[in-house]
């Protein structure tokens, strides 16, 4: 229906008039505060606009083209060294990389299409597991080579140890799958292939690492941007943990604990409260050496249990949702105080934990293992936000705390409610185990929810980290918690580099956009919409 036709009919004319009337306020505001600034920002990114320099109006703003982006994202030839200095090392490294790439591709291809199993290949998830496990194992080796253990003698070995355990778990899962689902000969062949795949991947990784150290031939113009990008991505490690946590939470909270009948509920809740509070009081009176804190904790647990009995699962959903709801400046300050290395409760707890017998034993074992530590060495809790190596893990810990019972949990609960019970009945008739039921019914049915949460989480994560950096760490120590959004804030609003700030914003947008596209492209293949 064209505009002319619309104007001809009086009824349509009236509708158009009303539509324009209703739309006008929002649309004008949208033009001024959203669409206009977007266009303007794109222009600003191409200028050297600085509020301090150009604020008075006496100095004209210069049009600098893509120079901001070159400064931000570009690379230049470093002064360190040139390939001509170490021709053999260079050639060997390059050859090794090519060999590793070719070997990886060949092994992956063979693994993907085993002989005689033209359409029954190892599942994609096992391939991913294998790759993750392998890369982790290699990174453990590399950490050991780098001497990180000596650089962080306190809890430094924790990270490689965790990575190693995860790697072994991943590889074990793949091996079990291969041994169970394939004939003996075929499985051995596949294992060999998987091993060579891992070897090639690991060799490639090491070659890149060594090469990076040996030849810093191309250096970024702005080291900070790439460092902060790395920080941002590092902090997003919390994302998969949060998502998995919310799924587990939703699976637990989906069951009901409701007690039938109000009278019974009230009686039971009262009983729990009385037993809990009374018990704590009696223990306190008996002076059996229980600390007041422990008794208070028991009383609090009984109070929460009583709430749970009274209001059922809703009470727990509310309590578990509260952290993410409360994520604001106040809660960041709370965590900042909790992470305080001297007076914070976390390190108080860790210090008393390290005094217990098992940890004394571990300390002894470490001293025996690594004589460099010295006789007096003992485990000390980390300095969290004051230590560049621990600031990011601390923030991730906080993020996971908030992420467990967040919107993701509510979305998973809604997703669980949408799964048709017939699917479970069918699975029961087939005699499926709980594990099978989860992997073959629940997980695929929740795939759209997982996809949505992952996409939104990635978008939010790349733009995130500003508030915690501003409130808790000021981006430090040594820039280790500065994310791209905090970088933008300091450039644009503390150093007044408006043009450069816009360039950062658009670079950030490009990254977000690319990641979203990748998610869509590969996520849609895995998600089975019905």
């Amino acid at each position: 229906m064209g505009l002319i036709d619309t104007l001809r009919s009086s009824r349509h004319r009236q509708v158009l008039l009303v539509a324009l009337l209703l739309l006008a306020p929002n649309f004008i505001g949208f033009l001024i505060f959203t669409l206009g600034p977007v266009v303007f920002s794109a222009g600003m990114a191409l200028t050297d606009w600085n509020l301090a320099r150009h604020g008075s109006g006496s100095v004209a703003v210069q049009w600098v083209g893509v120079q901001n982006f070159v400064r931000l994202l570009g690379f230049h030839r470093g002064l360190w060294s040139s390939p001509a200095d170490h021709p053999w090392l260079w050639l060997g490294l390059f050859g090794g990389l090519v060999l590793a790439a070719v070997g990886t591709a060949a092994a992956a291809w063979r693994l993907r299409k085993p002989k005689g199993y033209s359409d029954d290949n190892p599942d994609l998830r096992y391939m991913v597991l294998l790759a993750v496990g392998g890369l982790l194992a290699v990174s453990v080796v590399q950490t050991a080579l780098d001497g990180t253990w000596h650089a962080h003698p306190r809890l430094g070995m924790l990270w490689p140890a965790i990575r190693f355990i995860v790697a072994v778990g991943c590889v074990a899962a793949v091996v079990r799958h291969l041994l169970r689902d394939y004939e003996a000969g075929e499985a051995r062949r596949l294992l060999l292939l998987a091993g060579s795949l891992l070897g090639c991947l690991g060799f490639g990784w090491l070659a890149v690492k060594v090469g990076y150290r040996t030849f810093a031939i191309w250096e970024p113009n702005s080291r900070t941007f790439w460092l902060y990008f790395y920080n941002t991505v590092f902090l997003m490690i919390g994302l998969p943990l949060s998502i998995a946590g919310s799924l587990v939470m939703a699976l637990i909270l989906y069951r009901t604990v409701e007690v039938a009948g109000w009278r019974r509920r009230v009686l039971l809740a009262a009983a729990v409260l009385v037993i809990g509070a009374g018990g704590a009081f009696v223990l306190h009176r008996l002076a059996l050496g229980f600390s007041v804190d422990l008794l208070a904790l028991i009383a609090a647990a009984c109070a929460i249990a009583a709430l749970g009995i009274l209001f059922g699962t809703t009470a727990f959903r509310t309590i578990l949702y509260l952290p993410s709801l409360s994520m604001s400046v106040a809660t960041f300050i709370l965590w900042q105080k909790m992470f305080n290395p001297e007076i914070g409760p976390i390190n108080n707890f860790l210090r008393s934990l390290f005094d217990t017998a098992p940890f004394e034993w571990i300390e002894g074992a470490c001293r025996w293992w690594n004589p460099l530590l010295g006789e007096a060495w003992e485990l000390t809790p980390p300095e969290w936000l004051l230590d560049p190596a621990w600031a990011k893990p601390a923030l991730i810990l906080m993020g996971v705390w908030a992420g467990l019972g967040s919107n993701s949990m509510l979305l998973y609960l809604a997703g669980l409610a949408n799964i048709s019970p017939e699917l479970y009945e069918a699975a029961d008739i087939d005699g499926a185990s709980r594990w099978r039921r989860f992997w073959n019914v629940t997980w695929p049915q929740l795939a759209p929810t997982t996809f949505f949460i992952t996409v939104m989480g990635c978008i939010g994560g790349l733009q995130g980290g500003f508030e915690q950096a501003r409130v808790m760490t000021s981006g430090g120590p040594a820039g280790s918690t500065t994310t791209l959004s905090y970088f933008l804030y300091t450039e644009a609003f503390e150093l007044s580099n408006m043009g450069y700030g816009c360039a950062i914003a658009w670079a950030l947008f490009a990254i977000v956009f690319a990641l979203t596209m990748v998610n869509w492209r590969f996520g849609n293949e895995l998600v089975n919409y019905e």
Binding site: M1, G2, L3, T6, Q14, L16, V18, A19, L20, L22, P25, N26, I28, G29, F30, F33, T34, L35, P37, V38, S41, M44, I252, V257, V259, S291, V292, D293, A300, I304, A305, G308, F316, T318, I319, L322, L325, S326, S328, V329, A330, L334, W335, K337, I343, P345, L404, N407, L410, F452, Q463, E467, R470, V471, Y489, A492, F493, M498, A505, V512
Partner: protein, 290 residues
């Protein structure tokens, strides 16, 4: 006779689940427990291992609320004024909520119920801007506020928040779920489009409007970035900015900070628990339909 063991089994499972959930809830709430106990401690007890204070000091709250000067500060008054911050946050969040809901509902009606040339193209433009991060828009808007004279004023915080594509999008989705036959019936009775909007669609959209209103309110209550760059004067500080200044000026007064932190979090918790139903439905609606 076979029923009895099965019922006992079910009850036992419920009990185990209850214990598990309680343990989970306790662990998750530990930071809040510490927040509460630390806010009642005297300063010299903060460092102690003990969580429960030996000497309870509820005066911390009076100090934070500005009713009493803290010991050791002498005549120097703290420049914390929770009353002012509460008022500013409430005032700004309420205005933004009111304006944004109004403009969004009007635009959503025009996008969902009326047919006019170019409608879908314009809506696509709205949708497109949803993808662009707020940071891209923040810098030019900052300059715009200067030009308009809104810098360092209530208007600078309220006006840019009054028009968003998100609210329009959400209410449009909600309105599309209302059966078309209702407004057709009203039209047959001779009602114009404006009457249909006010008498038919708007009452039916109330749950959606309320959900959106809670979202906007909570979002603005905790909003940090924009007030941080927009506000300079002390008397215009909102709650988050006030807390930030509080934290940087008195970072060693952990007990006072914890009292302030609790005062900061409580209103949100109360609002959420009171209106839980709408919030939960809104979050789930946004994902399923969006």
């Amino acid at each position: 006779m076979t029923h009895r063991p099965r019922r006992a089994w079910a009850a036992a499972r419920k009990a185990v689940l209850l214990v598990l959930l309680t343990a989970l809830a306790v662990v998750i709430s530990l930071p809040f427990f510490w927040n509460v106990t630390a806010s009642f401690k005297p300063l010299d007890e903060i460092q102690a291992d003990r969580w429960i204070p030996r000497n309870w000091q509820p005066e911390n709250y009076l100090v934070v609320l500005g009713l009493r000067t803290p010991p050791g500060f002498g005549a120097k008054a703290l420049n914390i004024s929770f009353g002012r911050w509460y008022f500013n946050s409430l005032f700004i969040a309420a205005w933004v909520t009111l304006l944004q809901v109004t403009t969004s509902a009007m635009a959503a009606f025009a996008f969902s119920r009326l047919t006019w040339p170019g409608r879908d193209k314009l809506f696509f433009l709205y949708l497109g801007t949803l993808m662009i991060p707020g940071l891209v828009v923040a810098i030019p808007n900052f300059g715009l506020m200067f030009k308009l004279g809104f810098y360092n004023s209530y208007s600078g915080l309220i006006v840019p928040g009054a028009f968003t594509a998100f609210g329009t999008f959400m209410l449009r989705q909600f309105m599309l779920g209302i059966p078309r036959s209702l407004d057709e019936a009203a039209e047959i009775d001779g009602a114009g489009p404006l009457r249909v909007f006010l008498d038919v669609i708007l009452p039916l959209t109330t749950p959606g409007v309320l959900t959106l209103a809670i979202f906007i309110f909570l979002g603005n209550w905790g909003s940090f970035f924009w007030p941080l760059i927009m506000i300079k004067d002390e008397h215009l500080r909102t709650l988050p900015i006030g807390m930030l200044v509080f934290n940087s000026s008195y970072s060693s007064q952990t007990n006072l900070l914890m009292a302030g932190s609790l005062l900061n979090t409580l209103p949100v918790l109360v609002l959420f628990i009171a209106l839980q139903r709408f919030v939960v439905r809104g979050i789930q609606l946004g994902a399923v339909k969006g």
